[in-house]
C-alpha cells in the first residue's frame, strides 16, 4: 500500500457502537441480576409450554450448569452406595443409601448460588441433616472441621464443624422433586444453603472430621476457604 489519499469521512459510528455496547454491558453488570429475575419470571410459563424446547437454549440463567472436575464419574446405585463417617470421631460409621433414607428427612426450598454469579432460584431439597450424622458419630474434642470426599476420586471440600452443624446443611438425597440424579451429584450430595455451590460437594462418599479445615479442590485454586454467601 502506498499511502491512503482519501481520509475516510462521515461520523465515527464504529466508535459509538463500541462505546454503546460497553455501556450496555456495564448497565447489565449493575442491574442484570434484577433483569434476569424479571426475564425468567416472564418466560417461565412460556418455557414450560414450549414444545420446541427452543426457549431453553437461551441464557436465561435460571438453570443448573453441570460442573465436573474429572472426565467421568462412576455410577453408584442403592446397592453399591456407601457413605463413611470417620476421622476424629468416637463412633465411625458406614451408611448405605437405605440407611440414609430411613433417617429423619429435612426439606428445604432454597436457591443454589454459584460463586461466579449464576443461581437457580427456589430449588427443592431434601435429605438428612449433616448435624444428625455428626451427632451420631460423636466427634472427639479435637475435631474442629469436616472434610468431604467425592467418589469422583478428586473433589474434596471442607467446612468448620460449626458451619457443618448449621440446620441448613443437608446430606441431600432429593433435589428438584426427585432423587438426586447422577449429573447433579447423586445419589447423595451435600447441600449447604448459606454457602456458595462449591461447598455443596457432589457424589459424596466420605465425611471426615479433622482438627482444622483442609483447603478443598477449588480452594487450592483460589476460592475462599469460607464459602459463606455475602451479598
Amino acid at each position: 500500500m502506498t499511502g491512503d489519499p482519501a481520509e475516510p469521512k462521515g461520523p465515527p459510528v464504529g466508535r459509538r457502537v463500541i462505546l454503546g455496547l460497553t455501556a450496555l454491558g456495564g448497565a447489565g453488570v449493575l442491574w442484570g441480576s434484577r433483569a434476569q429475575d424479571a426475564l425468567s419470571r416472564l418466560l417461565e410459563p412460556l418455557e414450560a409450554r414450549d414444545p420446541t424446547g427452543l426457549i431453553a437454549l437461551f441464557p436465561l440463567g435460571d438453570t443448573f450448569r453441570f460442573y465436573s472436575v474429572t472426565g467421568s464419574v462412576p455410577t453408584r446405585t442403592a446397592a453399591t452406595y456407601r457413605l463413611t463417617v470417620s476421622g476424629l470421631v468416637n463412633r465411625p460409621a458406614t451408611y448405605t443409601l437405605g440407611d440414609l433414607q430411613a433417617m429423619s428427612q429435612t426439606k428445604l426450598v432454597r436457591d443454589f448460588q454459584c460463586v461466579t454469579g449464576w443461581r437457580v432460584p427456589h430449588v427443592h431439597w431434601s435429605g438428612v441433616r449433616l448435624s444428625d450424622l455428626l451427632d451420631a458419630a460423636r466427634p472427639s474434642a479435637a475435631a474442629k472441621a469436616v472434610r468431604f470426599r467425592s467418589f469422583d476420586g478428586t473433589y474434596t471440600e471442607s467446612m468448620t464443624l460449626e458451619h457443618a452443624r448449621r440446620p441448613d446443611v443437608l446430606v441431600a438425597l432429593q433435589m428438584l422433586g426427585g432423587p438426586v440424579s447422577h449429573d447433579h451429584g447423586g445419589p447423595v450430595r451435600i447441600y449447604a444453603a448459606s454457602m456458595y455451590g462449591y461447598k455443596s460437594t457432589k457424589w459424596l462418599s466420605a465425611i471426615e472430621l479433622t482438627d482444622k479445615e483442609v483447603p478443598g479442590y477449588w480452594e487450592q485454586r483460589g476460592y475462599d476457604l469460607d464459602g459463606t454467601i455475602h451479598n
Partner: protein
Amino acid sequence: MSAEPAPQARTLARFSRAERIVHRTTALLMFTCIVTAAILYNAPLAIRVGHRRLVELVHVYSGFALPVPMVLGLISIAYRADLRRLNRFARTDWRWLRSRRRRDGSIRVGKFNAGQKLNAALTAGSVIVLLGTGLIMWFPSLTRLSWRTGSTFVHDWFALGLGLLVLGHITFALNDPEARRGMRRGHVSVLWARREHAAWADEVQPEDDEAVSPE
C-alpha cells in the same frame, strides 16, 4: 509477446501481512473461546467432557489473549488505516444498509461495506464486554455478588450475540472465495474489487491507469 495479461490476473493489494496475521490469530483464539464456551455452558457437553478446571483455564486464557493481536496490530500503519475506514459511516453506508439492491453494485462501496463496518464494531464492543464480565467472574472476590450475577447474565447474552456474528461472518466468507483469498493471500482480483468495492478499486487504481500490480 504483445498479449495483454488477462484481467483476472490483475490484482489489488487488500490486506497487509500484519493484518492477515492479526486475523488468523484472532480467528484461532475466537474458535478456542467458542468451543470451550460451548463445553462450559451446554449441559450435555459439560457432562460428556467434564474436566471443568482445564476447560475453564483454556477458555479464560484464550479470552484474555483475544484482544492482544487486535491491539498489537495498531503498530501497523495499514491496520490503523483500515480501522479508520471501518470507524466512519458515510451517507452511502446508511443507504447500503437500507437498500434491497445493496449487492448489485449500484451503491459504490468503499474498502468495507456497511455490514462489514457494523460487524467490526459489534465484534469489538462484544469482545470488550466479554473481557470485562469475564474478569469479574474470574476474580469473584473483587466485586459483590449481584455484579457477578449481572456479569454472568451479560456474558451469556453477549456470547450468544458474538457467536451469531461470527457465524454470519463465516457464512459470508464461505460464499465469497475471492474475499477469502484477500484475507488469505492479501490480494484480490480487480474484477472482484470493481464489483464488490467499486469506490475502493477506483481509489487505489483509477480506471484510466490500470497498471498491473505485481503479485
